[in-house]
Symmetry: C2
Subunit: 327 residues, 2 copies
Amino acid sequence: MKPTALGEFGRIRRFFAPLAGPGGLGLTDDAALLDCRPGYRLVVTVDQLVEGVHYLPNDPPELVAKKLLRRNLSDLAAMGATPLHYLLTTALPASFADDWVRRFAAGLAEDQERFGVALLGGDSASTPGPASLTMTAIGEVAIGKEIRRSGAQPGDRIWVSGTIGDAFLGLKVLRTDELVGLGPAYAEALVARYRLPEPRCGLGPRLAGIAHAMIDVSDGLIADLGHICETSHCSATVEQIRLPFSAESLVILCEGWEQPAALATGGDDYELLFTAPPEMNDAIAALAAELAVSISEIGVIEGGAGVRLVDDAGQEIPVEAAGWRHF
Amino acid sequence: MKPTALGEFGRIRRFFAPLAGPGGLGLTDDAALLDCRPGYRLVVTVDQLVEGVHYLPNDPPELVAKKLLRRNLSDLAAMGATPLHYLLTTALPASFADDWVRRFAAGLAEDQERFGVALLGGDSASTPGPASLTMTAIGEVAIGKEIRRSGAQPGDRIWVSGTIGDAFLGLKVLRTDELVGLGPAYAEALVARYRLPEPRCGLGPRLAGIAHAMIDVSDGLIADLGHICETSHCSATVEQIRLPFSAESLVILCEGWEQPAALATGGDDYELLFTAPPEMNDAIAALAAELAVSISEIGVIEGGAGVRLVDDAGQEIPVEAAGWRHF
């Protein structure tokens, strides 16, 4: 059987046109139309997944779709933006079956509903290489409410949502035998964190007026804090004892199977990392309670440059990796 | 020597950050900020080039960059929009040298200047496959002035800018020996049309209030007219004798090396194809004179469905290919 009975336009009509929002014009035009509410700015980001680089060939297509969308939504959340739309570009090998595309679109449909976004347009092509999926996500933020990386100031406290290192450990479960001693429920929970990020779309926009600077943790907490310090021209000191770890991670740390510093340099957490002046401590605590999200104070911003991870005695802990780079 | 001495972030800083416009925040943030003027809508499109599919591995990187940008600008022009910004996503093999990236960025820099657009953001990754380049382009159009594919009405005349089939013939020059009898200057002119499209950014927005429906010719004139007919629920009849051909194409047609119908189904013209009511004939002639662009009336829109190419006697000419599809 031919891998695709539908063909390129058939796939678009069958699987993707139903995902189109009003501005997408049913995916029948050259481009999409985008309104912007008075008093708002649009926020645009783009991200890609390459098969064999960002995900494994056998990963379920629904999960690949959700991962692609959620990585983008996390970038919007990190600017304090609320997501609205996305455009999708696919380059797929001719061998890909229609069913892969159907399942990929089904994953998008579920997450569209969940996060309140819709498809605006896109492009599809064939490739002799691995599947390559690119998404452009568009959100909105009230003018002046955007939260950038460059606003950190000496004296700011450093905060991070959720827990750190789970996705890194989940990947380790999948790729090595080093964590076989971990119970299967714990192992599964970590793998789920790696496979499917949970972008902080609710929290991000609520930090307007509270956070001075923000980023989402994708390269690794230490590396991403480095990005804030570089653009804000300041330094950061993180207390290792304050890093928020999940119950699953704590088991691994207690058994000595991994070091805390490794969890602070592993990537793919998609938590929000932000700085805020000390007078915002109460507002942050209130927000954490209201949204039922843990938000942990982990350190302080100072003058100078660089990121230091320190132990209980204030001694610097050597950090090996400076975060993921492609080259 | 290592292919990249600069690394991922070094390349971004060195080659791409200088291309960033004000909303791009120096490419140092998670996402870009986008303002929209009151009374305007934004228009967004996305397009990709895959090495070995959309361009040849040895094509000069400057040309690849310009082709990517111009294909997107052509989509914006087809909506009647004026281009403003773009986002760039690259997936490059680890073997790609910094110099390829430098030349690619140099091509973008030249075209940015020429078309008045700036880089807003993007994403870069490595790939084990062929290079894959995706661009999201953003333009603006006054509310209500956008020109869609779906507005064609029976009685409309069909118009196309410039000449048709040159890019198709240019590719044929590159890939076959069938046109070796053509003089080298003519051959070069056709190859140039294939290598570097000339998007009608000036003409597109000026057709607001004149054109009922518009598309840019990328899949081939007949196929793209089919897209207009499908979304507008009408039919089109094109008179072959009225198709605008370049001097180079006419030599080839006169020698009998190619048939006119093939030029009407070849793609990559990036001319504007639109429909307008007969009372706009004078306005279109005036616009053509003002912009020094040839605009040719080639047929008429009627009820029913489908696209017919007819000869002098009104007899239908069989059309072989229905335009390019990837699957």
